[in-house]
Symmetry: C2
Subunit: 146 residues, 2 copies
């Protein structure tokens, strides 16, 4: 099933006249099987475990291509680097634990209401919506004591 998404992604590559190389398939596989939200460095590290000869620039080029074709999205969860996830049909936003960095996805109709309200008030035509909530996840809060 998650496998099906990878196959679909590879078809999109092919449909755009791009080659399906071992490296690209590997990058997709890693993003797929990872709860998403990895950064390029981490994808590179994991890729090297499977194929020690892959280069960091190939990872970046692969991610950029996948992004152009709409297969993955680039996130800006923190200030320092980009993170990537498989693009999903369902819109969702991110809850990020400030201690363990875990990312949980959520969606809420309140977001849509917010967008309608703000766009009506300010006259913007909204194209993209980013909602990131940062805080302690239940596990870290428990561990935290207090």
């Amino acid at each position: 099933m998650t496998e099906a998404r990878k196959v679909r992604a590879l078809e999109v590559l092919h449909a755009h006249g791009k080659r399906i190389t071992a490296q690209r398939a590997l990058i997709l596989e890693i993003i797929e099987g990872s709860e998403g939200h990895l950064d390029a460095g981490e994808i590179y590290r994991r890729a090297r475990a499977k194929d020690p000869r892959i280069s960091l620039s190939t990872v970046y080029r692969g991610l950029n291509l996948l992004q152009e074709l709409g297969i993955v999205s680039e996130l800006h969860l923190d200030e320092e680097h980009h993170h990537y996830e498989l693009k999903d049909e369902t819109v969702h936003h991110h809850l990020i634990c400030s201690r363990c960095e875990k990312v949980v996805e959520f969606d809420s109709s309140l977001v849509d209401r917010l967008v309608s309200q703000v766009s009506a008030e300010e006259g913007f035509t909204i194209e993209r919506v980013h909602v990131d909530l940062v805080g302690l996840c239940p596990e870290c809060r428990a561990r935290e004591g207090s």
Copy 2:
């Protein structure tokens, strides 16, 4: 009035045993009189217009200090660099024009409702909330035609 905020900021500096240098005052002045949301490079450029001898590292160090003391906040409006604004008592979020890069601040009680809802559902204790809506501002939409 906006002047008053700068004075207050300088007092905070002083209260923390930090010196009030011409460079720090200049950085504050620039952020103050700028509709906010400048990045370090732009602050540096404007600072040099007033004091050609200021260095980029001084700007970065100043911004980091101001941030540590809670006087300015660092934003991540786009992927590439940090932006800074004077920290305000009132919470607000950002509407960003994808064409002219203009930033409009907004707030809405729907955001608070969203936070309560999500934190109740997922068990997170929310510490920070980022809502960024990206789209065309009214002016750019008009100019755009279509």
